[in-house]
Symmetry: C2
Subunit: 257 residues, 2 copies
């Protein structure tokens, strides 16, 4: 790859939703960026590899396996000898249940996937990201900053993730770490909210999410996805450590509106 502007990015949760949108944006870019893509399902990752020959390295695995992040960094360095950015985008909403009905063990598993995997990946990626003065972009959630019945485990893990971005902001001045709230996006996670969790969640919230879908008010994944893709390519260093809405005023230059 002779293009000097071509960057090497690790993207987790790349098989669908916001992750898949980010993958297409970066891979179809004129600079032909190169991606290590991770997800549980191999097929969509292999399709990216075929569609963008030479630009994609596939790593399948479950994010609860804390060694996956290290393997992703190794793959990027073995294949392309550099790393410019990491987008930590994978996550699960489960367990969706009230604290009263929860099991602490299930919260631990949710944190393995949604949070400790991020700590593990970041930790291994930092030396290469310092070299490239790179970026870490986190897919966070509005659930991080409010108490939403039945979403306690998810929201607490996202609050911890936002805190991790803050800590990195204070510790790693050469790297830009930003957590993004993508809004309520028309993805598989929202389908699960409507079809799988509707019996557990409060009725008002079930109705709210259902009407966002039926009224066409769910965001297209391209809106926050493209902001995140542009952020990893050209990170605003003055926002290091921040948690921001995808459509925040500070990110105007990254938005397509």
């Amino acid at each position: 790859m002779s293009n000097k502007s071509s960057k090497v990015i690790i993207l987790t949760g790349a098989s669908r939703g916001i992750g898949l949108v980010i993958a297409h944006y970066l891979l179809s870019h004129a600079d032909k960026h190169r991606l290590v893509v991770t997800a549980r399902s191999e097929k969509p990752l292999k399709e990216l590899e075929q569609q963008y020959p030479g630009q994609v390295a596939v790593l399948t695995g479950d994010a609860s396996d804390l060694s996956l992040g290290g393997k992703a960094v190794e793959l990027a360095e073995d294949r392309w000898q550099r790393l410019d950015g990491v987008i930590i985008n994978h996550g699960v909403l489960d367990p969706v249940t009230r604290v009263a009905n929860a099991k602490a063990e299930d919260w631990r598993k949710a944190f393995d996937i949604n949070f400790f995997s991020a700590v593990a990946l970041v930790q291994v990626a930092l030396p290469a990201l310092r070299d490239s003065k790179g970026a870490i972009i986190f897919t966070s959630s509005g659930a991080a900053s409010r108490g939403f019945p039945t979403w306690g485990a998810y929201g607490a893990a996202k609050a911890a993730m936002n805190h991790l971005a803050m800590t990195l902001g204070s510790e790693e001045k050469e790297i830009t770490s930003i957590a993004i709230r993508p809004g309520v996006v028309d993805t598989e996670m929202q389908r699960e909210v409507r079809e799988k969790h509707n019996g557990v969640m409060d009725e008002e919230h079930v109705k709210h999410f259902a009407s966002l879908k039926s009224d066409g008010h769910l965001l297209k994944a391209e809106l926050p996805g493209h902001v995140m893709a542009k952020l990893v390519l050209d990170p605003p260093r003055d926002l290091n450590g921040h948690f921001l809405d995808w459509n925040a005023g500070e990110l105007k230059a990254y938005q397509e509106m």
Copy 2:
């Protein structure tokens, strides 16, 4: 115990610091409140038991054992057939190190002690607390809302704890859940900061904490401790789910200043 105003409280981390101050406040109260006290060290708990006969049930154990919370609730109910409040006060600052030098596995262990233990205890305590319209008071930290170099694991777990209080605020309307920032208190944790972590932390922060001690500006544990004790006895229902400084204006009625 014939005193109808005598409440039954579970207090974790009761062996020293803020926890021990809370224990003495509640046990020496005219209403002779009764406590299940937990900590790793048995001796200080046994001393409380001897000093306040009939008012103390001792449970020693490591908070990373997620079954400890259930045992505490069982002990309160077996001994006194009720539960009016829980103060989740135990915690450890370790691992104190930059994310770059951290191991995700050490973060997991820190969350077992500082966070998942709280989820486990709360989950078992909720039915009894609904019956008593009781309270859950969390010892949080200012580190929850800022990125402080080398304190990432501790701060992220406290951010998750504050989120748990928010979720409980939204799910459990009969119970009052409040997270308190106790400020920088003259306890064993601060001694560790000065004597054990001074080689790892940034020099400016080491100096800051050292000068708080030498200038006599560390808070006495009684100040936040008594606020927390009064909160568990007479919780302000309108602050359910909040994270508040011990000396916040909203808590004026609980402060001794």
